[in-house]
């Protein structure tokens, strides 16, 4: 944590810090208020990295709230510091206010934050905890948020998560976004480019079996590796207008009029690819076309696409995800305005899964 201060002294301490930095060439900048809220202190390092990625292009006042359920100190711990995109950088720097809360002082947190939200600038709330498990602090913070960014990586129950996010959106009218949704951007772009023409789209719509392989390798963070795969299949279904029929372990069955499609999610463990990422996609259509899109595990940005049928075999071609696509997608997801219609449609598809249905 930065310089520990009493909440009353946050602004004066920030002013003092900036006065001492005046001659170092650092420029103070802010485009929006960025509140990061996590109930899991283990995610602090990960969220800190996200914050630094964001401020590289979008400097903001960062208010970082962590909730430590092991802490027994009744006093709210607050600290201030200056954050740069990279350590020891001389470029643009941003205010950072850190708040460490626990059970005993949790209710105070929104009241500590309110005076420090910079006026006339948007408030973006990165809610890095499962919104299906609501706490009183959430409602108070959400009231001021122009944009709420969730991270479904942590969601135990994705359908409940989807319902909770949609309900929050309806309640607050804020834009919504999801970091894990952003992580599927590459695959969505790939699928959109492969099935661009009406012919290809028709074939996709008539798919009878889709298999998505995802990386079940665990990360250091407590998360759920199947989430991106579930998102991807729900997105495909939502875009094609399929209705969810049944959900069984590892399989989603959809229907469009009299046509049925089964989507299977299969875990695999690949050490060279980040945890939870989609590894490959296989699509088999009614007209016996087969599409296979597979990551090169030694160069994970490189995806090889093979297309064939009983009478036809195309030369494989490649699609490259941006080298830095994950970081850029996350920043874009956090900072750009509006709510993706594709994302809300995906959530609506997931929200139709009945409670108690398990696909894991």
């Amino acid at each position: 944590m930065g310089e520990m201060v009493h909440p009353k002294q946050i602004e004066s301490e920030l002013s003092r810090l900036w006065k001492t930095l005046q001659r170092t060439g650092k420029m103070r900048a802010c485009l929006f208020n960025f509140i990061i809220y996590s109930k899991q202190w283990q995610r602090v390092e990960y969220l800190d990295k996200i914050a630094r990625n964001v401020i590289q292009k979008f400097p903001s006042r960062i208010i970082f709230i962590t909730y430590d359920d092991t802490c027994t100190n009744p006093a709210l711990q607050t600290a201030v510091s200056v954050m740069t995109a990279e350590e020891n950088s001389n470029d643009i720097a941003c205010d950072m206010i850190e708040i460490k809360a626990c059970d005993r002082n949790h209710p105070r947190v929104p009241f500590v934050i309110l005076p420090h939200l910079l006026p006339d600038l948007p408030v973006y709330l990165l809610h890095a905890s499962d919104p299906a498990k609501e706490s009183p602090i959430d409602q108070k913070l959400e009231f001021f948020a122009n944009r709420m960014i969730f991270d479904s990586r942590e969601a135990t129950d994705l359908p409940s998560y989807a319902r909770a996010v949609l309900e929050r959106q309806a309640r607050t009218r804020a834009d919504i976004a999801d970091l894990n949704w952003a992580r599927t951007e590459g695959w969505r772009q790939l699928i959109a480019s492969v099935f661009k023409s009406n012919t290809e789209l028709h074939r996709l719509r008539s798919a009878r079996k889709i298999t998505i392989y995802f990386n079940r390798k665990r990360s250091k963070l407590p998360d759920h590796t199947h989430t991106q795969a579930v998102y991807l299949q729900a997105w495909i279904a939502a875009q094609l207008g399929w209705t969810l029929n049944t959900v069984t372990k590892g399989c989603f069955s959809y229907q469009l009029e009299r046509h049925f499609t089964h989507i299977h999610l299969i875990p695999k463990k690949i050490d060279s690819v980040p945890s939870g990422q989609v590894l490959s996609l296989e699509i088999q259509t009614d007209s016996d076309f087969c599409y296979k899109m597979e990551r090169n595990y030694h160069c994970p940005q490189n995806v090889t696409i093979e297309k064939s049928s009983t009478h036809f075999c195309a030369i494989p071609f490649h699609f490259f995800f941006n080298q830095d696509s994950s970081r850029q997608s996350l920043v874009k997801e956090i900072c750009h305005r509006g709510t993706s219609l594709h994302y809300t449609n995906t959530l609506r598809t997931l929200a139709t899964i009945k409670k108690g249905c398990s696909f894991q």
């Binding site: 009493h6 005076p115 006026p119 006339d120 834009d175 750009h336 509006g338 709510t339």
Partner: protein
């Protein structure tokens, strides 16, 4: 006293100047000087106390003991002031600053008149400065005015409203009338609405008995906020004389649409603070404060929506809110402009952010203008950004305290920055019906906002019904 001392320190006071304290306690001149020194040391805006300046200043400080209604006391005062005239050459010029409860204004004025202390002869002047509250409601304000006018003229009476002495408030006229770019936008064609906020993070402290008689409207809205409103929306005066400025301000107050019928429920919201957290610390509810009734119905939060029915402002809502125990201390005016056409740059069905001109009266005095800019990159999303001007960063000097400016203006005979009688009465004419309406209805939901929050949900609802929101400040 700190204001007088600082004026002396900055060379703003005339050389021939004497200050005499008048109160009921027995004390010597030196004892009084010593007390004043401590007060100045503690409260002066310029620190530390300059001993050289003080030593010179205290030679012009005296004390006179009397009760406010004691004739003999005023006779002795007249003698003392005549002696000081001879010694310091003050030529019979008098300013009486009544730093007392309003209940004594009439008595003191009457006694001063009776003992020829308000006579203006041989080019001398005699003025009285009184502080708010100027009455309790419209009728008491009229009665006070009538009583005072039996003993002095309007030109001798200076009603001090310290907001008018603030540099940022004085800058409102300069901003509006010394810059051509804003005048064409300063009307109903371009402005969507205006928000006034006077927020305090402190409670009522030990002033419970005083506050129980006042409430938020009497304490802040009827006076300070109406002054801000009239300066912000008035027409340009023909010159900067006191009368010319006052006349334009009064025209604004005359044009405020009075409340009728449903307006009292829809457009006037009140609140009272409950327990909560301010700056991380738990604080008590208003009804738990010292000298406050546990069943008190006095408002510590008020939000009002009003309209000014004139050509310039027809149809533009003005939202005023003032409160105790909000998350931070701030006084601010926000002019929210109408949304631009979103034809070109609309993204995902989002409207553009409105342009906002925020005038920060205190603290962090200055102004900020919110505009929309393009986000660098190949696509064209827009992002609101702020252009910010801060007094402290540009001018460097600590501006004079409001009271310093006002006292010097009173010495100079300039009443521009003081409230005129008709301003006070028009303001009371608008608020008295609201206060009467509230007095007749017990608020069942009090307390209705926790300390440290931005007020009761009903205040948000008042703007929400107009599809607007209170700004975060």
């Amino acid at each position: 006293m700190p204001a007088v001392y600082n004026s002396k320190r900055e060379g703003q006071l005339p050389t021939n100047f004497v200050c005499c304290g008048f109160a009921r306690r027995e004390k010597t001149h030196d004892c009084f000087r010593s007390e004043m020194k401590e007060a100045v040391r503690k409260h002066s805006r310029i620190q530390p106390l300059d001993e050289t300046v003080w030593n010179s200043f205290q030679d012009q400080l005296f004390y006179h003991q009397s009760y406010f209604d004691e004739d003999r006391g005023y006779e002795r005062l007249a003698q003392l002031l005549d002696e000081l005239d001879d010694k310091f050459g003050t030529k019979g010029n008098r300013i009486y600053y009544l730093s007392t409860r309003p209940v004594f204004f009439t008595t003191i004025t009457e006694k001063l008149k009776k003992h020829a202390l308000l006579c203006e002869k041989n080019n001398s002047y005699a003025r009285i400065i009184i502080e708010k509250p100027f009455g309790h409601d419209y009728h008491s304000a009229c009665a006070l005015q009538s009583e005072l006018m039996q003993h002095l003229s309007e030109s001798q009476l200076y009603r001090i409203d310290h907001y008018l002495g603030k540099e940022t408030v004085q800058n409102l006229l300069v901003f509006r009338f010394a810059n051509s770019i804003f005048e064409n936008l300063w009307n109903r064609n371009y402005i969507d609405h205006v928000q006034f906020t006077v927020a305090e993070d402190i409670g009522i402290g030990t002033r419970g008995d005083f506050y129980e008689e006042q409430g938020l409207i009497r304490d802040v809205m009827q006076n300070h906020m109406m002054q801000l409103l009239s300066l912000l929306v008035m027409e340009s005066p023909s010159n900067l004389s006191a009368d010319a400025v006052h006349n334009e301000k009064v025209k604004v107050l005359e044009a405020i649409r009075p409340f009728r019928g449903e307006d009292f429920e829809r457009w006037a919201i009140r609140g009272q603070y409950d327990r909560g957290f301010v700056h991380g610390e738990e604080v008590k509810a208003y009804r738990e404060e010292m000298h406050v009734s546990p069943h008190s119905c006095i408002e510590t939060y008020a939000a009002i929506k009003l309209y000014i029915d004139n050509w310039r402002w027809d149809g533009v809502p003005f939202y005023l809110r003032g409160a105790k125990r909000l998350p931070k201390r701030a006084t601010e005016i926000a002019i929210v402009f109408k949304n631009p056409s979103g034809v070109l740059f609309k993204t995902h069905g989002q409207e553009h952010e409105s342009n906002v001109l925020a005038i920060r009266i205190q603290p962090d005095e200055g102004m900020a203008l919110k505009i929309n800019c393009k986000v660098p990159g190949p696509s064209s999303p827009t992002q609101p950004v702020k252009m910010d001007f801060r007094y402290g960063s540009f001018f460097g000097l600590t501006p004079p305290d409001a009271y310093e400016r006002l006292i010097c203006d009173c010495i100079a005979g300039d009443s521009t920055l003081f409230a005129r009688q008709d301003e006070v009465l028009h303001s009371w004419a608008f608020f008295t019906p609201i206060l009467n309406y509230w007095a007749e209805k017990t608020p069942k939901e009090f307390p209705n906002y926790p300390c440290g929050s931005w007020g009761p949900p009903s205040a948000e609802g008042m703007l929400a019904q107009d599809h607007r929101k209170w700004r975060l400040i």
